[in-house]
């Protein structure tokens, strides 16, 4: 036996089942948003989860530990996010949107607060929020990306300059120790001349101003010409009084 229904969409019973299913699906999305993305990673952008895993593996490598394969939860969150953003929401929204444009009832004839209407609205919110936010996100992430790369380039240059200043410090120390007959200063920095390969490198130009037991060291970046570092070297070869200029600060 079967019953016909007066509902315009579903047979009796099935309508409420599918409504319940839809509500459960939405609750599932909202709940799993908290479970799967506890750190508020946006569900609609699964590539953010993948990027997070790549960076986590980088941090593991930093500590000398092997990279780990993504866990089931991570894989599920990525797949679910992709299905939600690229399949479920656009399909429900676009097909219903088309139906309404082509053959749907006039706006004043629609029954308010139908469950199918709620699902359509929710899908629309997801699709439109993606559509509206993706351009600003693209622009903001490009800006952040170039800012991060510039900051990292400055820091790398600063690290390289500090490294090379330490090499100069070693050269100064041995000059201070060596007797004059071996080209040293015999317990003085006076007469010290910076070797050419240390004076100018790809990263910076260096100047050493030496007195008896004290040397001033100043580096000017080649890559970021406004940036500079200065330090003092005492008679024990210890560097101190570091000062960093401009973006090196």
């Amino acid at each position: 036996m079967y019953q016909k229904t007066e509902s315009s969409e579903f047979a009796s019973g099935f309508f409420w089942q599918i409504c319940l299913l839809a509500f459960l699906a939405i609750a599932f999305v909202l709940y799993f948003q908290k479970i799967l993305w506890p750190d508020d990673t946006p569900a609609l952008f699964p590539w953010v989860v993948a990027a997070g895993h790549t960076i986590e593996n980088g941090l593991l490598a930093f500590g000398g530990r092997p990279a780990t394969a993504p866990g089931g939860r991570e894989e599920a969150s990525v797949l679910f996010g992709l299905l939600l953003a690229a399949v479920l929401s656009p399909t429900i929204f676009l097909l219903e949107w088309r139906r309404r444009r082509v053959s749907g009832p006039a706006r004043h004839e629609r029954r308010p607060l139908r469950v199918s209407g709620v699902i359509y609205a929710l899908s629309g919110v997801i699709v439109l929020s993606m559509a509206v936010t993706i351009l600003p996100i693209t622009i903001a992430s490009e800006s952040a990306r170039s800012g991060l790369r510039h900051s990292q380039a400055v820091l790398s240059n600063r690290d390289a300059v500090i490294y090379e200043m330490n090499l100069i410090d070693i050269d100064l120390s041995q000059f201070y120790i060596l007797p004059k007959e071996l080209g040293g200063g015999n317990h003085s920095y006076e007469g010290y001349r910076l070797p050419q390969q240390l004076a100018t490198t790809d990263d910076a130009r260096y100047i050493v101003t030496a007195e008896n037991g004290l040397a001033d060291l100043r580096a000017t970046s080649v890559r970021f010409p406004s940036c500079w570092v200065s330090a003092k070297v005492d008679s024990a070869g210890t560097m101190g009084e570091w000062t960093f200029g401009e973006e090196f600060q």
Partner: protein, 225 residues
């Protein structure tokens, strides 16, 4: 026994929607699950993303077919032209950026390791050089003897580095201990250097390695890899 049959009627558009969803979920999920899996999510996500893009393209074609008015078709087309390339661009850039950041972390690790070596390795050699040249002209110990006196038990091949903290695995190996030449070598065990084919002191390949050589005339630094 009486047979009962339950028939469920679904309007055509609902069944079409369900069919589209089923096809999309199947295509994207299969692409994701069948893609090569590695220690990263990107390979599977990229393959699934391509499947999702093809699905969306087909869906948009289906949605924007006639008799949808031209005005709405144009709107769908314009939104698609903006949203899809932006999404693809952000996706690709995010992958590139995350790989860059992971590589950057290792570069920072290499810089830290080299910095520690540059700080630690010359110290025993500078002390040796100072002690050597402070000797009275009448009694001259060789460089090797002075080094051995300052580092009791040091022989060629021994590690003279004293760990600074728990878990400090750095080593400082006496590579050469001759009367007029002392060489110290120190390497990373998991941080790659410039040349991946470089043979390290401990037999590994391609790791960062620094060397300092002490002679009567001073200290020479060689960044071997």
């Amino acid at each position: 026994m009486e047979k009962t049959t339950v028939t469920i009627e679904i309007k055509q558009e609902v069944s079409i929607t369900l069919l589209w969803i089923a096809a999309g979920v199947a295509a994207v999920s299969l692409a994701f699950l069948l893609a090569p899996h590695s220690t990263e999510l990107w390979p599977a996500l990229n393959v699934a993303g391509i499947a999702a893009a093809i699905y969306l393209f087909a869906l948009l074609l289906y949605v924007s077919r006639g008799p949808l008015p031209f005005r709405w078709r144009a709107i769908v087309g314009i939104v698609t032209i903006v949203v899809v390339p932006c999404t693809a661009f952000t996706w690709i850039r995010m992958e590139d950026q995350s790989r860059w950041q992971a590589a950057q972390v290792m570069k920072i690790r290499a810089v830290v390791g080299k910095g520690i070596r540059l700080y630690e390795m010359p110290r025993p050699l500078v002390k040796t050089l100072a002690a050597y040249h402070e000797q009275s002209p009448g009694r001259k110990e060789s460089l090797g003897d002075v080094f051995r006196r300052l580092h009791k038990g040091a022989t060629a091949g021994s590690n003279i580095y004293k760990p600074q903290r728990e878990g400090d695995t750095m080593t400082m190996i006496v590579e050469t201990l001759e009367p007029d030449r002392v060489a110290l070598v120190s390497q990373e065990t998991y941080v790659r250097g410039r040349d991946l084919g470089f043979e390290n002191y401990n037999g590994q390949k391609g790791m960062v390695q620094e060397k300092f050589i002490l002679t009567e005339r001073g200290i020479t630094h060689v960044s071997e890899n």
